[in-house]
C-alpha cells in the first residue's frame, strides 16, 4: 500500500511537472492571416505608457472587433530578460514596443520573433518609414525581425547650476574635445561643485558600454559600429583614444569606480551624464539641463553617437498576426509618431525629423539637438552572440579602463581577440 502511495505520488508529481512544462505554439500559416484581440507590451516609462494607452484607445475605437489590450512589460532586471523568459514560456504579448536591437539575435535564435519582411508590405513599409536608418536593423538572413521604432540619441546632459557654481559658463560649456572635457571635469570636481564630473555605472553589465564607450567611439570613429564585416573595429586608433580618455576620468577620480545607488545627475552628485532625450522629462522639475554633443579628440561638428534605439517586434506566440501587423503600422504611422514625440520627447526612427515635425521643435528647442543627432546614430551590431560579445567587451573595459588593472591598449586587444573567437564560434556553431 505504501509503495502504491509512493508510486501514485511520483506519477502525480511528474504529470504535474509535465503539464506545467507543456507548451504549444500557434500555427504560423493560420496565424499570419488571423484577426482578433491582441495584447501589446509597453515600456514602464510613464510618458510611453501615456502615449501607448492613448494609441490603443484610438485603435480600439476604430476596430471594436480587434480589441487591443496594453500592458507594461513584466518586471525584470531588464526588459530583455522578461521578454526572453516569456518567449520560452510562450506567453509573450503579440507586440512589444521596447525591444532592444542587441537582444534581437537571441530572440531570433529562440524562434521567438515573427519576420516582418514576410508580410506582403512588410519590407516596403519598414524601409519607407525609416529610410537609410533602417539598414542597421536587418538580421543576417536579410530580413527584418524588428521595426526600428524610436531612438534616444545619446548626448552629454549637464547641470547648468553646477557648472555655474564651478565658475564655468553654463550656456557655452567647453566640452567638445577630450582636453576641454577633462579640464571642465577637473574644475567641477576640484571646486567642490559636484562629487563627480560624470558618473556612468562602472558595473560589469553587458549593456553599460552603450553609455560610456560606445557613444564616444561612434563619435571618434566617424560612425563605426563595434563590429563591421564580421570583424571588431574598436582595437583601432579611435578605440584607443576613447579608452585613454575614459581611463583619465577614472584615474583622476573625475568619474567614480563605484555605482551610484540612484540617479546621480538628478541628485546633484554628478554634473554630467550620457543620456538620451527621454531623460529631459524626468529632470524637468529638478535640474536645469543643458545639452552638448559627445566629445572627440579634436572636437568638430556633425559627430555620430549611439542611437539607444528601441524597436517594436512581433512574437511567435501571437495568434492574430494580421491584426498585430496592422496595429504595428498604426502605432508607427506619421500621426502616431508625432503624438509619441509630443508625449515622450523621444525621436521616432524617421529621417529629417526637424522638417517633419517642425512645429514641435520650434516649441521645444532643447530637443532640436537630439533631433539633429538622430540623423547620425550608430546601432549595436546585429550579429549572433551579440550579448556575449558586449559582455566580453565590458569585462575587459572594467579591468583596464575602470580599474586600471591592465593597460587600455591591452584591454582592447584582448577584447578584440576574444570577440573574434566568439564571432568564429557563432559563425560555425558546430
Amino acid at each position: 500500500m505504501l509503495r502504491r502511495t509512493a508510486y501514485a505520488l511520483l506519477v502525480l508529481a511528474l504529470a504535474g511537472t509535465a503539464t506545467a512544462c507543456g507548451r504549444s505554439a500557434p500555427d504560423p500559416a493560420a496565424a499570419a492571416d488571423a484577426r482578433g484581440p491582441i495584447t501589446v507590451w509597453l515600456s514602464n516609462n510613464a510618458q510611453e505608457v501615456q502615449w501607448g494607452k492613448a494609441m490603443v484607445a484610438s485603435w480600439n475605437e476604430r476596430h471594436p472587433d480587434q480589441h487591443v489590450t496594453a500592458q507594461q512589460i513584466p518586471a525584470g532586471k531588464t526588459s530583455e530578460e522578461a521578454i526572453s523568459a516569456s518567449i520560452i514560456a510562450g506567453t509573450t504579448a503579440c507586440l512589444a514596443f521596447n525591444t532592444s536591437p542587441a537582444a534581437v539575435p537571441t530572440f531570433q535564435k529562440q524562434n521567438g520573433l515573427v519576420s516582418l519582411s514576410d508580410f506582403p508590405d512588410g519590407e516596403k513599409y519598414i524601409t519607407e518609414r525609416g529610410g537609410a536608418l533602417t539598414d542597421q536593423y536587418r538580421s543576417t538572413d536579410g530580413k527584418f525581425y524588428q521595426l526600428p521604432w524610436k531612438s534616444n540619441p545619446v548626448m552629454i546632459l549637464y547641470n547648468k547650476k553646477l557648472f555655474e557654481r564651478a565658475g564655468l559658463d553654463p550656456e557655452h560649456p567647453k566640452l567638445a574635445t577630450y582636453k576641454e572635457f577633462l579640464d571642465t571635469s577637473r574644475k567641477l570636481v576640484h571646486s567642490g561643485a559636484a562629487k563627480a564630473a560624470i558618473w556612468p555605472s562602472p558595473s560589469s553589465d553587458f549593456f553599460q558600454p552603450w553609455y560610456d564607450f560606445y557613444p564616444a567611439f561612434a563619435a571618434q570613429s566617424g560612425g563605426k559600429q563595434l563590429i563591421e564585416d564580421g570583424k571588431p573595429q574598436f582595437d583601432s586608433s579611435a578605440g584607443r583614444q576613447v579608452a585613454a580618455f575614459w581611463r583619465k576620468l577614472y584615474a583622476e577620480k573625475l568619474a567614480p569606480q563605484e555605482a551610484y545607488p540612484g540617479d546621480s545627475l538628478n541628485d546633484g552628485k554628478a554634473a554630467m551624464a550620457t543620456v538620451g532625450p527621454w531623460a529631459l522629462a524626468a529632470y524637468k522639475n529638478s535640474v536645469d539641463i543643458g545639452v552638448a554633443p559627445v566629445p572627440t579628440a579634436d572636437g568638430g561638428s556633425d559627430k555620430h553617437s549611439f542611437s539607444d534605439e528601441k524597436s517594436a517586434a512581433m512574437f511567435s506566440s501571437c495568434k492574430n498576426r494580421a491584426t498585430a501587423w496592422d496595429v504595428l503600422k498604426f502605432a508607427s504611422s506619421a500621426g502616431q509618431d508625432g503624438k509619441f514625440l509630443e508625449t515622450t520627447g523621444q525621436m521616432p526612427m524617421r529621417e529629417h525629423l526637424t522638417e517633419k515635425y517642425a512645429a514641435y521643435f520650434q516649441a521645444h528647442p532643447t530637443y532640436r539637438a537630439f533631433a539633429d543627432q538622430a540623423e547620425r546614430v550608430v546601432e549595436v551590431p546585429n550579429v549572433p552572440g551579440s550579448i556575449d560579445i558586449w559582455q566580453t567587451f565590458r569585462d575587459e573595459w572594467t579591468k583596464s579602463v575602470v580599474f586600471g588593472r591592465e593597460s587600455t591598449p591591452t584591454g582592447l586587444r584582448n577584447a578584440s581577440s576574444e570577440i573574434t573567437d566568439l564571432l568564429n564560434e557563432y559563425g560555425d556553431p558546430s
Binding site: 530578460e81 514560456a89 529562440q110 555605482a259
Partner: protein
C-alpha cells in the same frame, strides 16, 4: 480503542503469523507518515529532483531555450560543456571567491553565533530585546540590508568618513581585495540570528549539572565554555557548519546587489551569479547547467569533509 504499544513488540516476538496480521493500528502508522510527508515529497520531486535530472541532461548536450513548438536539435556533446567550465578563468575566479567566502564566513558564523547564543542563554537584562535584534537582519529583505551596507561602506559612506585618510582606496565594495571579505562579513551578520537560534535550542540540552560539576572542579567561565558548552553543542555545530557552507556556496543576492554584479572585475563573482549571467543573460543554459552540476559536487564534497571534521569525536 487505545493501543498498548508497550505490549506490541512482545506479541510480534512471540508469533510470526501475528507479525503478518499484526496490530493494524501500529502497522498503519507508516501510512499516516507517508500521507504527512507527501506534500514535501511532491515539492522535492517537482522543484528539485526533476530539475536536477534535467540539468544533468542539459549539461551533456548543446542546448538553448526556445519558444514553444520549435524543433531544434540538442546534440550530445559529452564533456564539452564541462571542458568549457573548467577552462573559463571567470569560473575559476568564482570558485576561488567562494573558498575565500567560506574561509571567512563559516568560522566567523560558528564562533560569533555560539558566543552570542551562550550570552543570550544567560539571565541578562534585555535578553528578549537582544534575541529579537540579532534575528531581525535574518528576516529582513536583502535589498534593504544592502542599502544599509552601501550607506555604511560606500566610498562616500559613514565608515570612510570616520576613517578619513585611512579609508581604503579603492573603497571597500570596489576594492578587489576587500569586496569578497566584505560580502562574507555581511552574510555572517545577516544570518547570525538564525544560527544563534539553532545554538540556543541546542544549549537547552546541555545539562546544568555539567556546569556545576566543572565549577566544583575549579573551571572558570572560559574553561566551562570550551570544555562543556562547545562539546555539548557539537551536533548543532555540525548543522551550522553544513548549512553555512550550503548557503554560502549558493551566494547570489549579495554580489548581485552589493558589489554591482560580482565586481570589481569579477572579484566577487560567485558560481550561482555566473550561472545566472551565462544561462539567463547570455543564453548559454548548457554551460550554466554544467557549472551547476560542478557546484553541486563541490558543495557535497566540502559539506561531507566538514561533517567528518565536526563529527569526529561524536
Amino acid at each position: 480503542m487505545s493501543v498498548n504499544l508497550q505490549s506490541a513488540p512482545a506479541t510480534v516476538r512471540d508469533s510470526a503469523p501475528a507479525r503478518r496480521e499484526g496490530p493494524r493500528k501500529a502497522r498503519g502508522l507508516p501510512r499516516v507518515g507517508a500521507l504527512f510527508v507527501s506534500p514535501y515529497v511532491l515539492f522535492l520531486v517537482v522543484v528539485f529532483a526533476v530539475p536536477l535530472v534535467y540539468t544533468v541532461w542539459i549539461s551533456f548536450h548543446r542546448f538553448y531555450f526556445t519558444a514553444p513548438g520549435t524543433d531544434v536539435d540538442s546534440p550530445w556533446v559529452g564533456l564539452s560543456n564541462y571542458k568549457d567550465v573548467f577552462t573559463d578563468p571567470v569560473v575559476g575566479r568564482a570558485f576561488l571567491n567562494i573558498v575565500i567566502f567560506l574561509v571567512i564566513n563559516v568560522p566567523l558564523t560558528v564562533g560569533v553565533s555560539l558566543v552570542l547564543a551562550t550570552a543570550l542563554n544567560a539571565k541578562i537584562r534585555g535578553r528578549a530585546f537582544f534575541r529579537a535584534a540579532f534575528y531581525l537582519p535574518y528576516v529582513t529583505a536583502s535589498v534593504a540590508l544592502v542599502a544599509v551596507w552601501q550607506f555604511l561602506f560606500g566610498s562616500d559612506g559613514f565608515v570612510n568618513h570616520l576613517l578619513g585618510s585611512h579609508a581604503p582606496d579603492p573603497s571597500w565594495l570596489v576594492n578587489s581585495h576587500l569586496a569578497m571579505p566584505m560580502i562574507a562579513v555581511f552574510v555572517t551578520w545577516k544570518q547570525l540570528g538564525f544560527f544563534v537560534m539553532l545554538y540556543l535550542a541546542s544549549l537547552q540540552n546541555v545539562g546544568k549539572e555539567l556546569y556545576e560539576a566543572s565549577a566544583m572542579d575549579g573551571a572558570g567561565r572560559v574553561r566551562q565554555f570550551f570544555s562543556v558548552t562547545v562539546p555539548g553543542v557539537r551536533p548543532a555545530t555540525t548543522l551550522v557548519v553544513i548549512y553555512a557552507i550550503i548557503t554560502g556556496a549558493n551566494l547570489f543576492s549579495e554580489p548581485y546587489l552589493l558589489t554591482g554584479g560580482g565586481g570589481p572585475d569579477h572579484a566577487s563573482t560567485s558560481p550561482v551569479l555566473l550561472m545566472y549571467q551565462k544561462g539567463i543573460e547570455q543564453g548559454h543554459p548548457d554551460f550554466a547547467a554544467a557549472l551547476g552540476v560542478v557546484l553541486v559536487a563541490f558543495v557535497m564534497v566540502v559539506s561531507l569533509a566538514a561533517r567528518k571534521l565536526t563529527e569526529r569525536d561524536n
